[in-house]
Amino acid sequence: MPLKLWLIARSVLIEAIRRREVYAIVLVSTLLIISIMGIDFFGLKELTKFYRESALKVMSIATGLTVVVLAARQLPREFEMRTIYTLMARPISRTTFLAGKLFGVMLAAAFCFLLFTLVYLVGTLYLGGDIPWVLFAQHVYLQLLTMLILASLSFWLSMMLNLDAAITIGSLFFLLAAMFTNVSMYIYDYADAFGRFVIKIGTFIIPQLTLLDLSERTTHAQSWSALDFTTMAMLTGYALIFAAAYFALAMLWFRKREL
């Protein structure tokens, strides 16, 4: 099974790299990051916080959108091109097939992040800033967990809805996640009993992606230390619960689909 899973994952990764979409996204984002580096702020050097914050946001948004698009189109395209029938005729279970697809998308996300990380590190060192290595590694790890949630959610959405709707909803969910957290905190005090109940339920059943975003802490790393092991373990568990739930839902819909 691991070999089959790896073969499927590898095909997703190769396809993602071969289609050059990842490179295009990384290239455009890199140009954006370089242009941020190039802005003249009164001729001052070593203004690294602005660069750090902007670059981390660009990295996160570009990778997130790549993952949503890549994950959302995996299954519909297999059906559309009828390659799913050939694959399912082989001794591969649907679970292995879907897990392989998810693993492949995650490899593509990691590849994307790796390229961005190189750009980010070179930029920070060029500007003369310090790199909080442990905190930055934690940030990348938690961002990959965010991508895992997004990928499994996109699989589920693509099984329920058409491709365009899945990409749109997945992207909106990703882009508005922090806003949802902030708004729910703010309006809770002003809501009536029923409103508070809805906000509470929403807070617990919708993944709070902002918890997996260490960009602010990394930007202001001079004042903040890396997270302790317990917190990292709790965040990992939190992310895995949602990723597993969405994967299970995707699996359920995938099983219901007639071949």
């Binding site: 001729g43 203004l47 709070q208 975003d213 802490r217 202001h220 001079q222 939190y238």
Partner: protein, 315 residues
Amino acid sequence: MKKSSPSSLILIAALVLYLASPVLTSRLEPNDYAGGRSRDSFDRSIRNSSAIAMLLGEVRMSASDLIFIKTERYLHEGIAYVPHLEREDLTPDLSENGEGEEDDHAGTPTLIPTTETDFRGVIGVLHRRVKPWRDPSAAHNHTEGTELLPWYRLMTIADPQYVRGYTIGSWWLKGIDPEKAIEFIKEGIENNPDAFQVYYMLGRIYFEQTRELDPLAEGLQIRELNELARDNFVTAARLGLQERPDDWTPPKTPEEFTEEWDEGREDDLRGAARLGVLLEQKYGDSERALELAREYLIELAPDGVLERRIDELAP
């Protein structure tokens, strides 16, 4: 006659609006709209008359206001407090920078609630651990202002009428590169020729520069800088008195100040008047200084500093 369908009408309307857009947007020059947190509602109502400029200008203003909030976060090590800083908090008098300084804003709520007020249980616990957060009862720790500068540059690009961006940005910048600070505040004057606070800040920067110089070796340069400062203080006082409401009387407590004329403006106007008279007395003409002091006192009385200055100057 064939009846037009709704979609055709919408298309025609859109086309008409598109063709009319050069006329409709002709009043979108920077001077046609001025809004934002840096101005009061009274000021905005006077300046803004074009509906379209108001609609689109609000977007620009909102961008600058959001960026201003960002500077508060940078100043507080990334901690998201409820916006609470006024200009005077961000321009600590006569200090080169505020690194490591603790202010007295302890008790200002954070956007992420405390354990006692958070309904989110474990999610709230994680949120407080992951984001830059400290208990709101703790004293605020201010970081070095240098890293704020990109944001002041951006907010004034987004809204060239964002006077506060120019004044606070140049104040931080003067500690690093006074020439760049002067260049920046002069850009503010160019974009806001009627705003008295930009002249006041330029005067302050010139005035502060003299403190760095040796009075014995660089006396001439000190004199030149003080004369430049004086000219800007006098201009600021003149414009400030014009801007100050005619029937305005000083309130007894800071809480009684209104949006129409706030405490910061009053302090800046008095500062400009007092320093203008002082520098005219020291580097200009005593009679002119006396004349200015009397002129300002008519509007600013009671003012102990100006009264003392008149006592010194009066024959």
